[in-house]
């Protein structure tokens, strides 16, 4: 006798370990692919899984096999036209060799290996160098708050969720379906009875029989319940992630000639990290990009990262513009304001005190968090000093000198601590 076992509920994701092994093994290739992808992506699109392509030759599992050439006997099915002694032109190489199993095998092997990274895996790999604390990684990868939305109806639920209209409609349908045959019979019997009782010699026995049948049918009709448990319909509610409200994030970057591609790449990660943090906490996020050299300009993301300018640096121009935009478009009662500024620390010396003044008096009271990174492993200039003074008076101002990617996270330490605690 055979034994049946239902395995559907256990051993889910049995291959997860092997998948992790695969990713672990090809970390370098995958990382390369991830960073290629990110450089093509906008900050706002960062938060998705991605198809990763790895060259097939890197992940082949070699086996001893026979190469092309030599003399091969083959048997093929479906001969229609050949007789012994016929000569056939060789099919062109590389084509799906007619009737040649091997040709198609090797053809297939040369495709690149494409597979999908989940969002978690993608972020994990992207932020690997940033040395994020585990709690923060979790925070970034997870959606924490939920709200309940209506999503149609189900036929199971708790009494509080009963949908009366649906249930009654269901009951009406069922009653109709169950009662109609009886009702039809009743009608027929009644008309027979009427006919019978109109006849002058009334067949009393038959009338009695008919009446009994009528009574029986009426009982049956009554036994169809008005409402039954199978009629009940419940409102269905599902859990959906719910970030709380809206935020605006300002990205400010110095684009003077000294900011090269490597520095911009660090800056981009810095902006992305803040953006991701905000997406966990706010429903709607707007991004504003301000770049500056001696004068500031609001630009789109493309221009922000990829155009280059030369010339001196006047940071206050960007801060003025920031203040102006907040005033005009982002009233503080409706928006949470975050600012991320990246620079190599250059500033026109006489401008720095003015920067401190704008920050202290105008901007800092308006914003939730202001983070500043200086990407330059050398001695600091006047801007760093005045910013340090700002930091003393405002705990939500944070600054960091960035040497490599792992230095980015500390800028946000306070921010994450507050939100994740």
């Amino acid at each position: 006798m055979s034994q049946f076992i239902d395995r559907r509920l256990n051993a889910k994701k049995k291959s997860t370990v092997n998948r992790q092994r695969f990713i672990r093994r090809y970390k370098n290739q995958i990382k390369q692919a991830v960073s290629d992808v990110v450089s093509k992506r906008n900050i706002t699109d960062i938060d998705q899984g991605e198809e990763i392509t790895i060259p097939a030759r890197d992940i082949s599992e070699p086996q001893f096999d026979l190469g092309e050439g030599g003399s091969i006997d083959r048997i093929l099915p479906g001969n229609e036209e050949f007789i012994p002694g016929d000569r056939i032109q060789r099919p062109p190489k590389g084509g799906s060799g007619q009737g040649d199993g091997e040709a198609s095998n090797s053809g297939e092997g040369e495709d690149d290996f494409v597979f999908e990274l989940s969002r978690e895996e993608f972020l994990e790999i992207y932020f690997e160098d940033l040395e994020l604390p585990d709690l923060v990684k979790k925070e970034l990868a997870q959606v924490t708050d939920y709200k309940y939305l209506r999503a149609g109806f189900t036929n199971a639920g708790i009494p509080a969720n009963i949908n009366v209209i649906r249930s009654m409609r269901q009951a009406a349908g069922r009653r109709m379906a169950l009662a109609t045959p009886h009702r039809r019979r009743l009608k027929k019997l009644e008309s027979e009875l009427e006919e019978l009782s109109n006849q002058i010699p009334c067949d009393a026995e038959k009338v009695k029989q008919l009446k009994e049948r009528i009574a029986r049918t009426q009982r049956k009709l009554k036994s169809v319940p008005f409402i039954d448990t199978i009629d009940l319909r419940y409102n269905n509610r599902i859990k959906v992630p719910m970030p709380s409200t809206q935020a605006v994030m300002f990205c400010i970057m110095d684009v003077s000639g000294s900011m090269d591609e490597a520095k911009k790449d660090i800056a981009k990660r810095f902006f992305i990290l803040l953006y991701l943090f905000l997406t966990r906490n706010y429903e709607k996020i707007e991004l504003v990009f301000i770049r500056h050299h001696t004068s500031a300009k609001e630009v789109d993301e493309e221009e922000f990262f990829y155009s280059r300018e030369t010339g001196g640096t006047v940071v206050s121009s960007a801060l003025e513009m920031l203040n102006e935009i907040i005033d005009k478009r982002y009233p503080t009662n409706a928006w949470n304001i975050y600012v991320a500024q990246a620079s190599d620390g250059d500033n026109w010396n006489a401008d720095s005190p003015y920067c401190q003044e704008i920050l202290n008096e105008k901007i800092m009271p308006l914003v939730q968090y202001y983070s500043y990174i200086e990407i330059m492993p050398r001695h600091h200039q006047s801007l760093w000093e005045v910013y340090q003074r700002v930091q003393e008076s405002y705990p939500n101002f944070s600054m960091e000198n960035i040497d490599g990617l792992s230095d980015i996270y500390p800028v946000f330490r306070e921010l994450f601590k507050r939100k994740t605690a």
Binding site: M1, R7, F22, I59, D65, D73, R74, N79, P84, F115
Partner: protein
């Protein structure tokens, strides 16, 4: 005698599965099928992909390549490029078969007949399986292997273990004994034996690589006996026993991969027969159900629809052609044997005097038990089937500008086609023949491998990659020679790559 159908709905329930299984088991018994008890497991599509990725082993050890296969299968499945197999069955006692939950009732019944009675009886009856595998011990052995490997990973690091497994996987096809009879796998002793083996093996190796100087007269190169004395075909076995620098756990790992390769070896040699046998029996058993009135017309139509899909052989010039379909060839041959037993023609009597007018069940059983694909085709492929499949024989020789049609399905061609098709299923012909030829025991410890070339067919491109893997196991220079049948060296490969000194 018509009975009430077992079900009329397309949905299955466990109770219905049991009903069908009971009836199919009864019929199988009437037909004289001898099977292991069945353990039928119902799984989801994802679990089926899992099973796929780990080549059907229910408890595989962890390795990135299984992850890669899983990712691949999942990808094409999600894009709808491929359907999953309806079934997967494991040569074990009890015989484990997987049913996928998506299947309809009819498909489940088909799978039960196909896997649980078809394949199952084949596993139990065929001589290769009897000789090379022990169905009652495989699951235990896999558990042992999985635990042992994960223990090694903890102790020596994932990277170390992975490196060795990669190398072993590359040599899996060269890790089987083709002729020698293996000891049966027995888990009870395996663990104890493994520890004894470690010590013993290491002492053997030390003996071989003794560094005590050898008297001058013995050193003369010409007199030196080759080691191994006879060429060895089982590369993994040789490395397990003789690779100089391996640690005991590494030898055990090689042994595990080798054992698993050996376990699957009969399946590679009996693809046509095994599938043909299973298709023949699902067809026969379900038709018997239908004849008794236990299944409905709709049920039977669905069965026949997928049956014909499975045993369809597209012609060589069809876009769907991808080689001879083992299901089609096997199924047709099985049906053909039955036909010859029951209604032989004059031609059949001439070709198969030992089949004509015999009891078909006995003759078919005999064929199933005592042959593998290569010999089965050589023995039983009938002229009638050659005509039906319109088989023809071509010679593709790279020294000639065109392909020659040598034989077609006519009187002169039958025998040649039968032989050529049989050869096509000879694993020795499909895979390069590679042997351990010599080790320079007293000198550099360099290892010489020989590839014996048949029909001037060279080694494929991956050869150099594999040499790297072999080098990582042997850890001394590797030379691979291709020799032709008259012992001339036609090609040489080295690892590490040889400097250009002799050119």
């Amino acid at each position: 005698m018509t009975k009430k159908p077992l079900s009329t709905d397309t949905e299955w329930t466990v109770e219905l599965l049991q009903d069908y299984d009971r009836e199919i088991a009864r019929l199988a018994n009437d037909f004289g099928l001898d099977t292991y008890p069945n353990q039928i497991e119902i799984i989801s599509a994802e679990q089926m992909m899992d099973a796929y990725a780990s080549v059907g082993m229910p408890i595989g050890y962890n390795h990135w390549s299984f992850g890669k296969h899983f990712v691949n299968v999942e990808k094409s499945y999600k894009r709808g490029q491929m359907g999953l197999a309806y079934e997967l069955v494991i040569n074990s006692d009890p015989c484990i078969a997987y049913l996928m939950e998506e299947n309809t009732m009819a498909m489940q019944a088909l799978v039960i007949a196909h896997a649980c009675y078809g394949h199952n009886s084949f596993f139990k009856g065929n001589y290769l399986y009897k000789m090379w595998t022990s169905a009652d011990a495989i699951i235990d052995y896999l558990v042992f292997a999985k635990n042992y490997i994960s223990e090694c990973e903890e102790r020596y690091g994932i990277d170390e273990v992975e490196k060795l497994l990669d190398a072993c996987h590359a040599l899996m096809s060269q890790g089987v004994d083709r002729y020698k009879h293996p000891q049966s796998l027995s888990i009870q002793e395996e663990k104890i034996r493994q520890q004894n083996r470690e010590q013993y093996l290491q002492s053997q190796v030390n003996e071989l690589w003794r560094t005590i100087p050898i008297p001058e007269e013995k050193k003369s190169k010409k007199n030196r006996a080759r080691f191994p004395a006879e060429p060895q075909e089982n590369l993994l076995y040789f490395f397990e026993k003789h690779a100089p620098l391996l640690k005991p756990w590494q030898r055990e790992l090689i042994r595990i991969v080798r054992k698993i390769a050996q376990y699957f070896y009969p399946q590679r040699q009996t693809k046509v027969m095994n599938e043909g046998w299973a298709c023949f029996w699902h067809y026969t058993l379900l038709n018997a159900l239908y004849d008794e009135g236990l299944v409905t017309d709709e049920f039977m139509l669905e069965i026949l629809h997928s049956h014909t899909n499975v045993v369809y052989q597209p012609p060589y010039n069809s876009p769907y052609y991808s080689g001879v379909n083992p299901y089609a060839l096997g199924y047709n041959m099985m049906q053909d044997i039955k036909r010859i037993c029951e209604n032989p023609t004059e031609e059949d009597k001439e070709w198969f005097p030992y089949l004509a007018n015999t009891n078909w069940q006995e003759s078919l059983n005999f064929a199933m038990q005592n042959y593998k694909d290569e010999s089965f085709i050589a023995q039983y492929l009938s002229p009638k089937l050659i005509r039906e499949l319109k088989l023809f024989h071509i010679l593709d020789d790279d020294e000639q500008s065109e392909i020659h049609v040598k034989n077609i399905h006519d009187e002169q061609g039958y025998q040649a086609i039968r032989q050529a098709l049989s050869k096509q299923y000879n694993i020795g012909y499909l895979e390069p023949e590679i042997q351990i030829y010599d080790v320079d025991v007293e000198g550099t410890r360099a290892l010489t491998l020989q590839h014996i070339q048949h029909d001037r067919r060279p080694l494929g491109k991956s050869c150099q990659e594999i040499l790297k893997h072999i080098y990582s196991i042997w850890q001394f220079p590797i030379k691979l020679q291709s020799i032709d049948l008259s012992n001339n060296v036609v090609a040489e490969h080295y690892c590490p790559a040889k400097e250009q000194k002799d050119s």
